[in-house]
């Protein structure tokens, strides 16, 4: 009897978790739909959009730049070490370039921006909710989705490809620096190898991924911020949830997009 009781309790716990998960998915889907609906309907708050471009894009440049620089360098070392087992050291420039623009550039930039921007948006909007600033917006005839969510989501979606393009370039530069200073590559030959093997679609596919990741980061930041619980603990939890959910969704979206773009 007690074993059955225990089994039922386990089943109930699993059921409650699944229900909570599905409810979250439902709420996020509704929030997504509302965001898209407000994206295409006026009024548009250009000043807030401009500010978001600056805070999400420009101020993320150092983080993304440093991350991709070191990753590009490490990638060159790894490919050289791995390639030397098959006498294929010469592939370092092309593999660094393809790896950066297709995969590492967008994913690493996405994850770094998720840590920086999703957290900051969630904390800002969460605090606004707790201090009734969001209610105040409504009483001042301003829709919070239009004023807070749309500018951030639009800015992140548009600026992430630019960030990734810069990150890709810096990452390739990192590989170039390591290749030419430590691995004995001729600088001109390294650049030739990089350019010759890189195709337009490699770059474009990475930029499409970046736009999707930007959308995810801002959407998760706004969703968790606007639905933050009360007090410092509520805002803290919203911030953590924003970063965790954005990171997981970026990795899941990356797999789906890679499958879509490159699976023959």
């Amino acid at each position: 009897m007690s074993l059955i009781h225990w089994f039922l309790q386990v089943l109930a716990a699993i059921g409650a978790s699944v229900t909570a998960l599905l409810a979250s998915v439902g709420r996020i889907s509704i929030f997504f739909g509302q965001t898209v609906a407000h994206l295409v309907r006026p009024p548009f708050y250009l000043k807030e959009f401009g500010q978001s471009l600056l805070t999400i894009g420009y101020f993320s440049l150092p983080v993304v730049g440093l991350t991709t620089l070191f990753t590009g360098g490490a990638l060159a070392l790894q490919i050289f070490a791995g390639g030397s087992r098959f006498n294929a050291e010469a592939v370092v420039p092309s593999i660094v370039a393809i790896g950066m623009v297709r995969e590492l550039g967008p994913v690493l930039a996405g994850l770094m921006v998720a840590g920086r921007v999703a957290a900051s948006i969630a904390a800002e909007l969460g605090t606004m909710k707790v201090t009734e600033q969001i209610d105040a917006l409504v009483t001042l005839s301003t829709h919070p989705m239009k004023y807070l969510t749309v500018p951030r989501v639009l800015a992140a979606t548009l600026v992430m490809p630019v960030l990734v393009l810069v990150g890709d370039t810096i990452g390739i530069l990192g590989g170039f620096l390591v290749g030419t200073t430590s691995l004995g590559f001729n600088p001109a030959a390294y650049i030739d190898n990089t350019v010759d093997f890189l195709e337009t679609w490699d770059v474009v596919s990475g930029l499409i991924k970046a736009a999707v990741f930007g959308f995810i980061v801002a959407l998760m930041g706004c969703y968790h911020g606007m639905n933050s619980g009360r007090g410092a603990q509520g805002v803290g939890r919203a911030t953590t949830n924003a970063v965790v959910s954005a990171s997981i969704l970026i990795l899941a979206a990356n797999f789906i997009l890679t499958q879509l773009f490159f699976a023959a």
Binding site: P43, Y45, M128, T131, E132, Q133, D135, A136, V138, T139, L140, S141, T142
Partner: protein, 251 residues
């Protein structure tokens, strides 16, 4: 005098917590109604329900004869001004941009210079100097933030003004100043006012009418002059701050 705000049988719950259990209340045009009651009795929920920030499960709310949940939402909200408990000033905007928020966007949009001039004038009305206009909310004291919140509430000359705990967190002198300002402004503008508070000095300074909410319903309502001799045990206990009575004190 005609009725400006009318609530009939308003119910609102949060899970198992039945906050409003059938609130009936009428506020006459141009009058100042103060709703009193203990913490957690649903005063804020009641106020937010009128504005549509909370959606009641049952009952009806009308403003000037029109159902509050129908019609043009922007036009509806344009009739209201609200002073929030903590001020709810936007941290990222300067004081004058907070005050002129409504005048810088939407259907009431005015040129920037004109909006700033109105903001400065409203700040002066609540006793703040022009130099405050370019400061940010974080640079202001609690009393100054309340005044800025008040200036923002009246910036677009609304017909109805809501005050949510206007003196909470202020020292008695500053609370007196804010109460006086509220009374002056409401009379001067001829606005209908709805204030929620548990500060009895605010009630005496601001109210024409008083309503006492407890257990999710209005227990007593009447003119402020009759409040002291209401004969209602709930009102009596609250007024005199007694631990014994029909309102259970959580110890």
């Amino acid at each position: 005098m005609s009725t400006m705000i009318k609530l009939s049988g308003v119910h609102k719950s949060f899970g198992d917590n039945h906050v409003l259990r059938g609130v009936d209340l009428e506020i006459t045009k141009g009058e100042s109604m103060v709703i009193i009651g203990g913490s957690g009795t649903g005063k804020s929920v009641l106020l937010k329900s009128v504005l549509g920030l909370e959606t009641p499960e049952k009952g009806s709310i009308s403003v000037d004869g029109q159902p509050a949940d129908q019609g043009d939402r922007d036009a509806f909200l344009a009739r209201f001004g609200m002073l929030f408990q903590g001020g709810a000033l936007f941290d990222s905007l300067s004081v004058w941009q907070n005050v002129a928020f409504r005048l810088l966007r939407g259907r009431l949009k005015k040129p920037k210079d004109e909006a700033r001039a109105i903001a400065v004038e409203k700040l002066r009305r609540v006793g703040l100097q022009e130099r405050v206009a370019d400061l940010y909310p974080a640079e202001l004291s609690g009393g100054m933030q309340k005044r800025v919140g008040l200036a923002r509430a009246i910036a677009a000359e609304p017909e109805i003004i809501f005050f949510d705990e206007p003196t909470t967190g202020l020292d008695p002198i500053m609370a007196g100043v804010i109460n006086e300002l509220i009374r002056e402004i409401v009379v001067e503008m001829g606005a209908t006012a709805m204030t929620i508070t548990h500060d009895m000095s605010s009630v005496r300074a601001i109210a024409d009418q008083v309503a006492m909410i407890h257990d999710g319903v209005i227990q007593w309502t009447g003119p402020v002059k009759k409040m002291e001799k209401s004969g209602d045990p709930f009102m009596d206990q609250f007024l005199h701050g007694r631990a014994e009575g029909p309102i259970e004190a959580v110890r």
